[in-house]
Symmetry: C2
Subunit: 340 residues, 2 copies
Amino acid sequence: MAADPLDPVRPGGEVIARCRRLFEPALREAVSVLHPWGAMMAAFTLGWSDVDGRWQDDGGGKGVRPAIALLSAEAAGGDAEPALPVAVAVELVHAFSLVHDDIIDNDERRRHREALWKAYGVGPALLTGDALLALAIRQVAGRPDAMGYLSAALVELVRGQTTDMAFEQRSWHGPDQVSTAEYLDMVAGKTGSLLGAAAAAGVAMGGAPQFADRMWDMGRDLGIAFQIVDDMLGIWGDPGVTGKPVHSDLRREKKTLPILAALSSERTAARELSTILVSRTMDDDAVRRAAHLAEEAGGRAAAQALAERHLASAMDVLDECLPDATDLRVLCESLLNRVN
Amino acid sequence: MAADPLDPVRPGGEVIARCRRLFEPALREAVSVLHPWGAMMAAFTLGWSDVDGRWQDDGGGKGVRPAIALLSAEAAGGDAEPALPVAVAVELVHAFSLVHDDIIDNDERRRHREALWKAYGVGPALLTGDALLALAIRQVAGRPDAMGYLSAALVELVRGQTTDMAFEQRSWHGPDQVSTAEYLDMVAGKTGSLLGAAAAAGVAMGGAPQFADRMWDMGRDLGIAFQIVDDMLGIWGDPGVTGKPVHSDLRREKKTLPILAALSSERTAARELSTILVSRTMDDDAVRRAAHLAEEAGGRAAAQALAERHLASAMDVLDECLPDATDLRVLCESLLNRVN
């Protein structure tokens, strides 16, 4: 749940870097109103300072969500500036969710450094997460159009996270098993909703509210595609690049799409995979074997196909509503490359 | 930080009960959209069910915050109904803050039953708190007037909680000691801001937005007064009535007003109190002795005087803006009685 599928360095970084220059001053200003202690923790979790509050810049998150908000506004009206509060808000909500997720999942590392709770304690970290969310809401409190999408995304985000957590208790087989439809509904909330809010509120602030509902769907499809890719990277990716502990999803019995797809196949590998998962003895060898079997059973191919289908749906919306959205397309295409 | 100064049973309950009948159906409807597991945890923390999800009604919170919102609207325009979303929102924000506070403070009991994290685990409880906040925001997302006050209150609430937590690390004496002004600023955020939002957004929704800023001040003063009273009850109150563990604030080195006031006096008792606090050996005898010395040094009288002063300021606003607000006045007066 704690993973950020949009974090790793990728091509198309030029567009993101331009957006980052636009929104980062506003983000820093938003955070500056916090209690000094809270501001120090926020700066740490946003990658602006080390654990003692000394200035550094390790890049932090790459800012895909604010970039989508700003580029959606540009595509709508030519100017990103009206969407700045939305850009800041979605980045703050994202930071809030990572801080709380790391507490919930007991993850000690984030972006190659300590998780906030590990560095400052659970209580202070929890409160800093709340502070980031409060700041996010204040950014768009006076803009009901944007606020509607942001608040809907928040409800969906938490619902998706709760569902994901509940899935860990579900069986791999039988009447209790997680269906693909349930998985898609979960990731649409967990990962898709905030991208949907960024796109919808961005385009609305940019002057084209008539496209906002379509852009909400666009962002959700984008989010689904990238959560699937992230699930794949969690099984077959290089932990040195992803920053995720190797195979942590498998160890936690996370119901990820590649595994669900593999289990539903008729191949021999699926039966052996099932035996390993049901036995719950997930040592290093078993986990490596499970990853291999999931690929052999067709889980990787099925996941990639589904991710591409959702990405294509997202691109269809852009074609239809914002055919001149060059930079937004560049950004989405660069994200697409992670699939290939 | 976890205390709710407005919780204990008190006179004036008739007005609160009437308000509760108004807002509780809307509150239940708001919570019903949660994931079933989240809804079960929400129902537990709101006092609607036991830990296994079986229906019960232990009263939960008394609903002072929604009552203030509804009565402010009534006083403004004669009808409480337009303020229903505000009433639901402030109760949800209050519930969110209690759930997170209990995690932060490691408090195992709340309202004479297990705290949510104790019953279901830290991760699920944290997420349920987030869910309650998300629902609160959605209630008023489309009403920028109300949203402005609610989001300001959220930022202030978290800032006050962070300050309160930071105070625990501060010294009782010397350049690092907490001043009365700092204390008042902290409780205005921690306890006052949500009452301010209830009153301001309530009166705005009721049709008198011209009074909203004054009612924000009114609510904050009310909150300050009642946090001071709560601090007093935490030292000299009956734990069987307050539901708080006896002397927990003293044990935690919470910088509460009665103690700060006692320490600033010139009396002999103040010096002995200071010695006990600085020694940090807060066993049962020491804590009892400290409570006695704080009263002897004048801390109780000073706290009561300050609480009464802030309550009087709050009543002045009502006299001026809403002289016909009979029920709101009854509610405030019944709360006043806790001081006397």
